[in-house]
């Protein structure tokens, strides 16, 4: 199958870029031919993926051969960009519209670039009707597509983004960072994300003096792009001015963009966000996976993402936000419970889960396409093509352990659906008006001497052979799945035992602290 993935840009560090990377790897493992069409050059991607990316200039003009002959098109939508209009020109194949939500213009906090958000919102209603299936990251986005943009509920699929859980896990605070930011003996309230208007970092700053009344050593650490564009710069300068007014500027750290996030999560005591609008919220999951309790505003996707792993504050209510932060920072038992729930919740956003559901969506979207080639099993042995290059990659061991299982299951399903190579529903027709039925009758009867004694029996033998092969493959899959399930069960038990051990150790540390 030929697949075209289209977006404005592809940055390995951001959520959509990571999502596209996961999808590309998924298709390559299946043996599909993938190309990625971007307006801006990709950033931070492994070289084997970078070679698949190309400029999107030729799309609207229909000059690109791969694009023109693709079987599946995946349009990512973080906002409207010029060549997304090519969705209207596609004349064959299946189309998926991947909606990542558009920040409401009224929450942007700056006049700069606001028109882009307005256009982005208008584009959703205009472009979604051209897609066969709409995929989005959260139930909130799905509801928005249906209720706000009038999309058909039965064409919308929710597929939460995957988070690389093996990178984000609880661990000791990194001494270098403590030293760099002078955080000895400080309680760190962490926020991660770009400082856009809707993120309302100013509310976190407002809440800080109230928190410090109960937790005097509290520090607010804001990690993420704070100079990216004019709108972000405006928001940050206003927030800094407010921090000076409140006298807490020395307790607020703007780190800017960082290369590796996990140590920052490990540095913190609580993750806080006062954002008024989120389409998904990857940092929340990364924080939960890193063993942080969460305090977030009760808006959009937050209640769904967090579940029982955090406390929800009323939106724009600084006093409530501060109270919830104090509660988490001072009540160890509550904090422990939230962390436990967070670790469990984060596991639901694994790459394995994502790929399983993504395979289901792809099968559904392409089920009607004619003459789909089988996924080529050679990809089982081509893992080296996808070998990780930088730290944001998936470890090789895990890809090998999980991917073939998913691949074989989806491959078998497709093989099964195409095992019967006979075109049983085919009816000989003629396009000729009036005389059509007569011509069809003649064609049927003039070929019956070849069809009945030779062609039909040959093809039936092929069909029965196909079914026997599939039977054997299914047997092998069953045996293999049982083995893997056993292995996974053992890993889970080991993980559980380790968690219990950590819990006990923590209790012992707490007791030791009390004794001291």
């Amino acid at each position: 199958m030929r697949v075209s993935i289209i977006n404005l840009n592809m940055v390995a560090q951001d959520a959509i870029g990571q999502c596209m990377l996961n999808q590309t790897r998924f298709f390559r493992r299946r043996g599909d031919e993938v190309k990625i069409y971007l307006a801006h050059p990709p950033q931070g991607l492994p070289t084997n993926i970078t070679t698949l990316a190309m400029g999107a200039d030729g799309l609207l003009a229909g000059r690109d051969e791969h694009f023109a002959s693709s079987n599946l098109y995946i349009y990512h939508y973080p906002g409207r960009y010029p060549f997304i209009e090519s969705i209207k020109t596609i004349d064959r194949g299946a189309v998926i519209f991947y909606y990542h939500n558009v920040t409401p213009p009224e929450l942007w906090g700056s006049d700069s670039d606001r028109h882009l958000l307005v256009e982005g919102q208008q584009g959703v209603a205009e472009l979604t009707p051209f897609a066969d299936i709409l995929v989005t990251d959260s139930p909130y986005n799905a509801t928005e597509l249906v209720e706000k943009y009038g999309c058909e509920a039965d064409r919308v699929r929710t597929l939460p983004l995957a988070v690389l859980l093996d990178q984000f896990n609880p661990g000791p605070k990194e001494h270098m960072l403590i030293k760099k930011y002078n955080l000895f003996g400080r309680k760190v309230i962490l926020f991660v994300g770009r400082m856009a208007g809707n993120k309302r970092v100013d509310l976190l700053i407002e809440a800080l003096p109230l928190v410090q009344q109960h937790v005097p050593n509290a520090t607010l650490m804001l990690v993420g792009d704070h100079q990216g564009n004019l709108a972000i710069q405006e928001v940050v300068s206003r927030a800094k001015a407010r921090a000076i007014e409140l006298g807490v500027i020395n307790d607020v750290i703007f780190t800017g963009s960082v290369n590796t996030l996990p140590p920052y999560y490990r540095l913190a005591d609580v993750y806080a966000t006062a954002s008024l609008h989120e389409g998904f919220g990857v940092p929340l999951i990364e924080a939960m996976a890193s063993g942080l309790p969460i305090v977030a505003s009760r808006v959009t996707t937050h209640p769904w993402v967090i579940g029982e792993a955090g406390l929800l504050a009323e939106p724009e209510n600084v006093a409530d936000l501060a109270a919830k932060l104090v509660q988490v920072l001072t009540d160890d038992q509550l904090c422990g419970n939230l962390v436990q729930h967070g670790l469990t919740r984060a596991r639901q956003f694994s790459l394995e889960q994502y790929e399983e559901n993504w395979a289901r969506i792809i099968n559904e979207a392409t089920a009607w396409l004619p003459n789909q080639p089988y996924p080529r099993l050679r990809s089982l042995t081509t893992q080296t093509d996808n070998a990780p290059i930088n730290t944001s990659e998936i470890p090789k061991e895990r890809t090998i352990a999980i991917a073939p299982e998913i691949l074989l299951a989806s491959g078998l399903k497709e093989l099964e659906s195409t095992a019967d190579v006979m075109i049983r529903g085919y009816v000989v027709r003629s396009k000729m008006p009036i005389f059509g039925p007569l011509i069809a009758w003649l064609r049927r009867n003039l070929t019956s001497h070849l069809r009945e004694p030779y062609l039909d029996p040959m093809l039936e033998r092929q069909v029965s052979f196909n079914w026997r092969v599939i039977g054997w493959l299914k047997y092998i899959q069953n045996v293999w799945s049982t083995m893997l399930a056993k292995e996974r069960h053992q890993t889970d038990s080991r993980f559980q035992a380790l968690e219990n051990e950590i819990k006990e150790l923590r209790e012992q540390i707490a007791e030791l602290k009390k004794q001291q």
Binding site: L127, P129, P370, K431, P433, G436
Partner: protein, 414 residues
């Protein structure tokens, strides 16, 4: 895209279905698509009288009109005979009678589609239950043109969908466009597994310019401060005019600041009603109204009360929302999927016993008269909903996308 729209009647003929296809065709033509319309020469579905020109070009749309057989006494008798026996026996023998009686039977249209089908990427048939739909369907199938249909069926009226050849059309179409989710759910319930898309119907907001409420009230001799309920539409039995009058009489006994403005073509039923309620104070009646009068009536009222039980969509509610007015509709499937009770309007139970229905409608009206701020808020919510979901541009977005998907599917098998 090169599109062929087939409909029973087209502008300047008046009606909801005609307006739907006219607005859609013009909007798509404006977007650069080639849109041709095949229709009958009639603007009266009671006679199918051939009166309009054979060809016209209106707002970028090429309209080709075809002669149809007249709907005379024989046709009506055939229709009645067909209906009477078809549902008893379900025998195909009676279907031609219904086909002939429903009309418009345009043989020229069949020939034209067979001949010119190669010029189009897709055929869109509007209004299922008239005979043009089967003519177009046969020709499109013969020439392997992808078919999109807007059936505009009324779940309450089985003659609009429950006949063998109509079911064949629905089954054979690649995509079905419905106006409401209720209509879609009903089709799913009937077992149709084609792609069914809710397109809705829409208004051109520029057709509803702001008007001064007091000036409009003066036009109908209505006082500036009274509470005005409006009935706007053909005054037939199922539109609920009698329920509105009963509610008005009940309310008028309690308060004299309430007025009832009834605008729309008269029928035998309404004439009888006016005789019964002759001389009622606060009642203002207007017959067939010009577009300006309709808009003035909408601007003059406080609430549109139309507890109609035979709506396939209810575009009149959208018109009221265009002027920020609250609406009251009957709690039937189609209307309930348009009006959100207590948010942008109120729903009343249509099938309760007369007393409670009357009581209920009167109660709702009284509630809005007592709380004008709630009525205003509902009107504003309605207007916001209209702007977001029910403009012609939005409907054209959905239909254009649906066409593209249908053509793509067809091409993928080439």
């Amino acid at each position: 895209m090169r599109l062929l729209h087939v409909t029973h009647q087209y502008r300047p003929a008046i009606g909801g279905a005609e307006r739907y296809i006219t607005d859609l065709s013009e909007e798509l033509a404006r977007r650069g698509h080639q849109v041709d319309v095949f229709t009958s020469r009639s603007q009266d579905y009671l006679t199918w009288h051939n009166a309009l020109p054979y060809f016209e070009q209106l707002d970028g749309v090429n309209i080709y009109r075809f002669n149809s057989l007249p709907r005379n006494g024989l046709a009506w008798r055939a229709l009645e005979y067909g209906f009477r026996h078809y549902w008893q026996t379900r025998h195909r023998f009676y279907e031609p009678f219904i086909f002939y009686g429903s009309g418009p039977v345009c043989l020229g249209m069949l020939d034209a589609i067979l001949r010119d089908a190669h010029k189009y990427d897709l055929i869109h048939i509007s209004q299922l239950h008239y005979s043009h739909s089967f003519t177009a369907y046969l020709a499109a199938c013969q020439r392997h043109l992808p078919i999109v249909i807007t059936p505009l069926l009324h779940a309450e009226q089985r003659e609009t969908y429950d006949i063998g050849y109509l079911q064949t059309i629905l089954k054979g179409s690649q995509t079905i466009l419905t106006l409401t989710t209720a209509e879609k759910q009903y089709l799913v319930k009937l077992g149709y597994d084609n792609e069914i898309i809710v397109s809705g119907s829409g208004l051109q907001l520029r057709d509803f310019p702001p008007l001064d409420k007091q000036t409009c009230r003066a036009q109908f001799n209505l006082p500036a401060n009274g509470f005005v309920m409006l009935f706007l539409g053909r005054k037939t039995v199922y539109k609920g005019l009698d329920k509105c009058l009963e509610a008005f009489v009940t309310l008028r006994q309690q308060r004299n600041d309430i007025y009832f403005l009834a605008v729309g073509p008269e029928t035998e039923f309404s004439t009888q009603l006016w005789q019964r309620y002759q001389g009622l104070e606060g009642l203002i009646v207007r017959g067939t109204a010009s577009n300006e009068e309709r808009l003035a009536a909408l601007a003059a009222c406080d609430v549109l009360a139309m507890p109609s039980t035979g709506e396939s969509f209810g575009i009149v509610y959208l018109e009221a929302w265009a002027y920020h007015k609250a609406v009251i509709g009957a709690n039937i499937n189609a209307v309930a999927s348009l009006i959100r009770d207590d948010v942008d309007g109120l729903l009343v139970e249509p099938h309760s016993i007369t007393y409670s229905t009357r009581g209920l409608l009167a109660h709702q009206l009284n509630y809005l008269a007592d709380h004008p701020e709630i009525a205003q808020r509902m009107g504003q919510h309605g207007r916001a909903k209209l702007e977001q979901r029910y403009t012609v541009e939005h409907i054209a977005d959905i239909v254009e996308g649906t066409y593209a998907r249908t053509i793509r599917r067809k091409n993928s098998f080439k």
